[in-house]
């Protein structure tokens, strides 16, 4: 356990520089975005009202009042989130491959550590999960700030105010910041399953090279089919014999199964098959 915690801390420290850059990028771009969006809206309002002669009510009717969602749907808000997501997705692969770079491959030292090799795997997986949660936390912290900036820049008459809960209830944000504990476990559990499947595919490649790529892709495909099997059943069968909650229960069981197999497979590859 001690080793696991040390490895986890180590993995976090390796990525910390880029991580802090991502956080800074998100904060800066989003705050600038709020200011730009609010100001351009007010500039439009001023132009329409003072130059074109629209009344305030007419302007609001035609151009709709300013709300936080107008900003949340813009590239200013979604762009940094997309960049962070892409970076972390990329790092799911790089967190392994960086250990094979250079002359004194680091993986050699990692695998020689006096610890169960599964700890290396789990530390990497846990660090990815923690980094995602960390970025989501940062977003959760700056949301009320951005909301306040908006309220400060746009007069009350032109605003439709939203609370943070309402903003968070929208679209993909409601998946990243789930409204209930059950959903939190379901969504982030599914995320952990996906990470473990990808990790095992990577280990296939690292163990068997070209054959390994095929094995890895095959592993991902089979996992996908297993998880989608209830849906595939509805396509091929006349009657679907499960109620919705039962299907959810089945998916949870399948998910746990896929995760367990991935972890076991990853452990097996790390201990028996990996080539350095």
């Amino acid at each position: 356990m001690n080793r696991f915690v040390k490895l986890l801390n180590f993995e976090l420290s390796r990525f910390m520089k880029i991580y802090l850059v991502l956080i800074a990028l998100t904060i800066i771009v989003q705050v600038v975005g709020v200011i730009v969006t609010a100001n351009s809206y007010m500039a439009e309002a001023n132009k329409m009202i003072y130059e074109e002669g629209l009344s305030q009510a007419q302007f609001i009717q035609q151009y709709r009042s300013m709300s936080f969602l107008r900003f949340a749907r813009s590239l200013w808000f979604m762009g940094p989130i997309a960049v962070c997501a892409a970076a972390l997705l990329f790092y799911i692969f790089m967190i392994w491959y960086r250990d094979w770079f250079g002359k004194n491959t680091f993986i050699y030292r990692l695998l020689m550590l006096p610890t169960a090799r599964i700890n290396v795997y789990l530390a990497k997986a846990a660090s990815i999960v923690l980094m995602v949660l960390g970025l989501v936390s940062v977003q959760l912290i700056i949301l009320p700030l951005e909301n306040s900036v908006l309220k400060w820049l746009v007069p009350i008459d032109f605003r439709s105010d939203m609370t943070v809960e309402q903003v968070v209830g929208w679209d993909y944000l409601s998946i990243l910041i789930p409204q209930t504990f059950t959903e939190f476990i379901l969504y982030y559990g599914a995320g952990f399953m996906a990470v473990s499947v990808l990790f095992t595919a990577i280990l296939f490649e690292r163990s068997f090279k070209w054959k390994g790529i095929l094995l890895g892709i095959g592993f991902v495909a089979i996992s996908g089919v297993i998880m989608l099997s209830p849906l595939l059943a509805t396509v091929f069968m006349d009657h679907y014999y499960l109620y919705p909650l039962e299907t959810l229960g089945l998916e949870v069981v399948l998910g746990l199964l896929v995760t367990a197999v991935s972890l076991w497979m990853g452990h097996y590859l790390l201990t028996k098959k990996i080539t350095v």
Binding site: K6, N9, R64, L69, L133, S137, L140, S160, E165
Partner: protein, 394 residues
């Protein structure tokens, strides 16, 4: 401790932020307002079992569904996840059947109109084997009947007669008369012509005993004809009814250019089909009324809205027997309605003010038993609309 600096930092921020957010969420009463039913006049007991469903829209495609009754307002996002997930797909009546007859209802698709519940049986009829690819269809009636006393069920399938001619067959109602199953369907031919038909089945023999056309637009030759045949709604699709009421309307669009098309001919009919005798009766209803004015049908009586009047029309007698006065303020459609035994509940909405009126009438005397306002406790923000679209009695 310094050795674990990064881990501790990241973990603390995550734990602190999420706990703060979730704690704050449970403390504040939520961002959605309470909706109250305020009495204007009458006996408040009458709305004790009333449940109103609505949708609260924030604009921008955001919002939530809400259920209001005399005691509380429940938004669907406030419900625990398993409950929300389980109840989302099927309506209340189907959920009720699934709870009570879990094994029988398993694997049965189709809408609530595919089911019938009487004192003795639960019956089911659906058309399966349909797909978007018309050449790949094998339309079949999928039937099942559950005997409530013996808890035994029989199921069987019967191919749809003339199935190659149709692109879609949908079950609109299931009834039972003298141990025969009557299934009313909407059949749409590959040519586009639609008809309402009735198929009779003997479930002891497990075969089809008859087919009839109730009404159709199958003879239409002109291409620019828009036709619509709609079955009138009833309070509970799973209960037995004596008649099935249809509207039928068509309009012929003249040649003209794209921007100058006009309706050269149109017509509408109201047909009451009596299941037991296979009789069709044309209903003489006021010409000024159209499909949107027809509210609900129950036990031989049709309820319609004509401006600020609620009309009760008796199908057997063929005349309007009662007129009840609705509030002046409510203007728009739709007009949600619910009937229980001898009372009718009508919701009239005033879209401008987000306030609705509920009127409760006694069906024997036509008297107004209760009149109330339904409105949010605090005025709503700009851009927010509250639309109440359904009434039900629990």
């Amino acid at each position: 401790m310094k050795r674990y600096l990064y881990l501790v930092a990241v973990a603390s921020i995550i734990v602190l932020t999420f706990s703060a957010y979730y704690i704050q969420q449970t403390i504040t009463s939520g961002s959605y307002p309470e909706i109250v039913i305020e009495k204007v006049s009458g006996n408040e007991d009458k709305v004790e079992d009333l449940m109103i469903s609505g949708s609260y829209r924030l604009g921008f495609g955001m919002g939530d569904n809400v259920k209001v009754d005399i005691d509380e307002t429940v938004y669907s996002s406030e419900q625990p996840f398993p409950q929300r997930f389980g109840n989302r797909i099927y309506g209340d009546n189907t959920n009720r059947l699934q709870d009570r007859y879990r094994r029988f209802m398993r694997g049965k698709s189709g809408s609530v109109r595919s089911f019938l519940e009487t004192d003795n049986v639960v019956a089911y009829a659906n058309v399966i084997g349909q797909s978007l690819d018309a050449s790949n269809q094998d339309m079949t009636f999928d039937m099942a009947v559950l005997n409530k006393q013996t808890e035994e069920s029989t199921s069987f399938t019967v191919p749809v007669p003339d199935k190659e001619a149709y692109s879609q067959v949908t079950v609109e109602d299931v009834q039972m008369i003298d141990n025969e199953l009557y299934v009313i369907t909407q059949n749409i031919k590959v040519t586009g012509a639609n008809s309402k038909r009735i198929y009779r089945f003997n479930f002891n023999e497990q075969n089809m005993t008859g087919e009839d056309v109730i009404t159709s637009y199958e003879d239409q030759k002109a291409e620019a004809v828009h036709t619509r045949i709609r079955k009138m709604g009833v309070p509970d699709e799973t209960k037995a009814q004596e008649y099935v009421v249809f509207f039928k309307e068509h309009s012929v669009i003249g040649q003209g250019t794209d921007t100058a098309r006009e309706i050269t001919e149109s017509g509408k009919e109201y047909i009451a089909y009596k299941l037991k005798t296979n009789e069709k009766k044309q209903l003489e209803l006021p010409k000024s009324l159209s499909v949107e004015n027809m509210l609900i049908y129950k036990h031989g009586k049709l309820y319609m809205r004509d401006g600020h009047n609620l009309l009760q029309y008796d199908i057997t007698k063929g005349e309007t027997e009662k007129e009840m006065q609705l509030p002046e303020q409510g203007s728009g459609f739709p007009t949600p309605v619910a009937i229980s035994d001898d009372t009718i509940y009508v919701l009239t909405a005033n879209e401008q003010s987000n306030i609705s009126q509920i009127s409760v009438f006694d069906l024997t005397s036509g008297d107004l038993l209760y009149n109330g306002k339904i409105k949010p406790e605090k005025p709503l923000e700009r851009n927010v609309t509250l639309q109440l679209y359904d009434l039900s009695i629990s």
